[in-house]
Amino acid sequence: MTDLAKTDLAKTDLAKTDLAMTELPVLVVGGGPAGVAAAVALAEAGLRVLLIEQRDRLGGAIHRQPAVGAPQIWRGPARHRRNWAELASRLEHVAERIELRTSTVFLGIDGAGRFLFDDRMAGRVFARPVRAAIVAVGAVEKIAPFEGWELPGVMSAGGAQVLLKETGRPPEGPIVVAGSGPLLLAVAAQLARAGNPPLAVLERGRPWHKPKALARLMTAGAPLAEAASYAAVLALKRVPCHVGSEVLGVSETGQGLTIRVRAGSAESLLQARHLLIHDGLEPNRAGIPLPAPGAEVPVLLAGDGREILGADAAILDGQRAASAVLSRLGHAASAAPLEAALSKARNFQLALAEALRSKATPPTPQTMLCRCEGRRYADFAALPADASAREIRLMGRFGLGACQGRFCGPMLAELRGEALPTANPPRWPLRPVSVAALANFSTDETES
């Protein structure tokens, strides 16, 4: 800024405040498709953007890149790559208006309304004043707990997928993939391509018993083609896929795992080295603060973190959130026909959920629910039915550990049949943060 501009604008206090407000960035948390789409749309409309991503680069769950030096063994459907390439090039064009901070974790909003961030490289927590925020932190995986899921050798299918994408190597030894949802097929196919086809894929749902839902899925187009391509890979590699089949428990035997499987009324045992489990996705909402709709600094959700609608819809949803912010801030926002496309994605997800709907066998008392604190189903069942949020946390010791309930929260909600009461006010930090970094906190004044 030139000196002239400075003097001009400093004439009145009002102008000063206006300048300060307009110069403040809009915060976007999450560098997945939704967050990047939102950041690009805001920057293209002329706003400054602060884009925060906890990982060392953008991409999100689907465009996760191999670590430096690791082979790229799987590149995903061409459509997703095209969409991402397009976003990336638009990002290039407006790069000067986007302050990108990777390896930086959004920690939440504190009681004074500060947006807090943990700069993991610098080892420092900082706050930044922002005009508005879009939180696009993606999904968390659900699992239906059974005895032994916490054993080494068992991991979430999504977690295994991340490892596979980052290291370029599948886990060694026989693998079983189990649970429910389209990710089972995707991960199994990716493992097969990477050279270690799973022993079996066990889907609890029985889609063939839901012809109506299947019929609705058949009209889906791109996602259907994606599923078909996975199925083709699995058929080629002769990976058996069983429906109506679920894991009841797993135990350690020698080098590997003994997996107890039920299909209908028949039980059988499988031996494997790894068991990958997954039971669908859920918005990652744990501790995300959502101020009242009229709040001075609006906070909006976008992408899988708002509603699980898939990768294509995540881009649209990021644009939708950006439009909403733009109109809140008095800018002209393009009224693109986003809602129609989003509702198409929603119908697809609903049909998918209906096709795969199945009830998991209830956990035994000994089944682990919270790994962080070693809490079991019996501990949960011992809580009164009307237990308050605080009783669940303090007396049940659920959601008290390092993951702050991000992992066990959805599991408990499923078992309770209703969402867990949330801590009020929402807690920060959203993620564990080093004592030294937080002690190093610098206030907004020195930051901006």
């Binding site: 504190d110 702050q404 807690r427 930090p429 564990p432 004592v435």
Partner: protein, 385 residues
Amino acid sequence: MARSPSLHVAVIGAGIVGAAAAHFLAAAGARVTLLDASGPAAGATGASDGAVSVASKKPGPMMDLARHARAFYGSCEADGLLRGLFHRRSTFLVARTRLEAELVAEHGADLAAAGERVLDVDRPTLLNRIPGLGDGVCFALEIPDDGHALGYEITQRLLQRSAVTVRRNAPVSEIVMRAGQAVGVTIRDELLPADAVLVAAGIGSVGLLGLGDILIPRKGQMVVTDRAAAGRPAIDGHLMAASYLAAKRGIVRDNAHIGLVIDPLVTGQFLIGGSREDHRADQATDAATISAILRDALDLYPPLRQRRVLRTFAGVRTASRDGLPIVGPHPHLGGVTIATGFEGDGICLGPFMGASAARMILGEAPGVDLSMLAPQRFSRAEALA
């Protein structure tokens, strides 16, 4: 022991004090309904540290009461009621300046005069006990007979071991009086009849009894870290900085003071606190205060550098105007007893005070003279409405 098996007591507030009173009332044969706007330990009891500490108390009645209360923990631990929940451990009073050293020495003399064991610890011994302690620590005293208990665990145990009816999500809006005598309480549209009412509602007591001139909220922010040890305290005692004593002895009176304590929990985690923010009744934490607490904590105990913060939380202490709890019969409302105003000492005092309030309601004399805590003391100056 009970006067009448049909005596029905409505206890308002399921914090440690209400839970203890309810437990001992029921144990004596009374019928008890324990009402909480949210649930057990929803107030200060579930958002506090758990120092069962004589070392921290202001000389005078508080120091004496704390000695009784700590002994009560010891006997409840021994008779099984609180088995496994009360842990003996030393408090180290530590000074980092000459002025602080004088304060600690003076406090040590007061403790000794009250009958408390007080041990001198030189720096080499201290470093042996707490390796890594900050260079600035120039003087310390060890109070070896203190202990620790978690308020919510005590509350839960007291309720598990009794036939008290607990009603969650039951906000009391009014105590219903007839002819100068309490006949019940109102919960939304419901009238719950009761022969006696105990108000143990922490800061909620202000609204119920119109005590706005007598009680103030004092918010405290705290930090919980990850584990530095597995299943045992990571250091051999509770570190209490002179800044905490200064607040307790009424030397500092600023509204955002930090009284530093570093508490090694039995889980191997650290609990670090805390701020003292007068007239703040919210449960929000802020980065400026939390980071100030951590900077002070790192100065006192640098190995905390290796820990991660898992949570921050805030609780609201209920402080009375004269610094003493308020325990006893309401001066004007027949059948209403009060037990609140425990400020930052209610985990230590709670079980003992709850048991004492129960005895008062049953018409028995408490084991110790509690006349200085009587609500009556405020009605001399003005009507305790």
